[in-house]
Assembly symmetry: C2
Amino acid sequence: MSVPLPPSRLRARKAVLPTSAVPDGTRRRILEAALQLFASRGFHGASIRDLATALELRPSALYAHFSSKEHVLAELVLMGHEAHHEGLRAALLGAGSEPIEQLRALVRAHTLLHANHPQLAVVVNEEIHSLPPELAAPALALREQSAALLHAVIERGRAQGVFSVPHAGVTAAAISTLGLRLPYWYEPTPALDVDMLADLHVELSLRMLGVQGPPAPAS
Amino acid sequence: MSVPLPPSRLRARKAVLPTSAVPDGTRRRILEAALQLFASRGFHGASIRDLATALELRPSALYAHFSSKEHVLAELVLMGHEAHHEGLRAALLGAGSEPIEQLRALVRAHTLLHANHPQLAVVVNEEIHSLPPELAAPALALREQSAALLHAVIERGRAQGVFSVPHAGVTAAAISTLGLRLPYWYEPTPALDVDMLADLHVELSLRMLGVQGPPAPAS
DNA sequence: GCTATCTGAACGAACGTTCGTTTCGCAAGG
DNA sequence: CCTTGCGAAACGAACGTTCGTTCAGATAGC
């Protein structure tokens, strides 16, 4: 009951899976509870018994749905990368052929995904290192593909002369990073909702790429 | 011997403490080995026995120097925050009174610290969440002071009209983030050494702040 | 009566930590 | 020069607990 609060990385918020590919049922409940726990205490800091307690189950019951604790993490990590990659791909498809529009779409999607699914963003980016290489590999492959999307847009924009950057790789890293650290400080408020945040990240990204935007409001 | 390689977050590089405040000896060796281990496997993923093995000691020997595993981490986390804060403070003192120069100094120092001490950066930013609140508190206080330094410079620049940002808080977060994610992708090479990287981060930061820099080289 | 799900008990291993003993460098005393 | 005593450091063995996981059996829905 009155156990001293364990340290927590993310304010407790209900974890929501970004996909409907996992049908309702115990398996989905396990994934959502594990997402919450792994995000707040880390993979090694959250035990199977913690997970079972959160689900009001006995530890052994989990093994009817997953073959090991690592496989639960692996599924979360893969799912997160899939949602991310699919989000970027869809955004790019919906944008026109102009690099500026494409970049706007990518940064918006990247920011919205990280802001709307902070726990998954944390687990995907931190706890993937707790997976053995063979379980992490599929996710890492997806990650490379996602990075390639951004690089391609930046390179095209540079070739067309609409982007002007001192160093494409460092700039791409900077833009990706905007989203990656979000879960650690951002929380939606009426004064700064996810949509405004995405617009701000687009603006910052374009500035880094040397695109002259509209003058900033006086505020 | 041929144990299957455990997953690792950071390429193995010798961990160097950024301070000479810790005298040579076993205590310092423990801190450096723990830094290496905690950075690569995480606090919960690295055991006292792992640490002892790396030091060619028996687990019990460590307790002559630290009262618990948590206290080893706490010392690393505090030391990292102190080095960071002191680095920023010194950089700011060495800069003039112009916001642009002050920002350049802060971003340079921030980037150099993270690039030169990647393990410490990772431990400080990720593993601090494994500490009980009372051990994390001193470091968190320092962190707030460091953030305040950046905020103050941005606010002064904005008041003087040399910076023009759509949202000061989000821009400050973006600039901090540039350094925080460095350990995960950057490694010094002749083609991109730490000094060039710091310059690039300064340039990106000034662009985000709406400062017109020199035109980017054609490369 | 088959299948899917969960329980209860238990397994061996690994965990952080404690404690009595041993080792060793070194200064003091004869 | 040898002995003695001392404090710091490391050892070796063990502690109680928690870890991930297994498995035979109970339960429930089709």
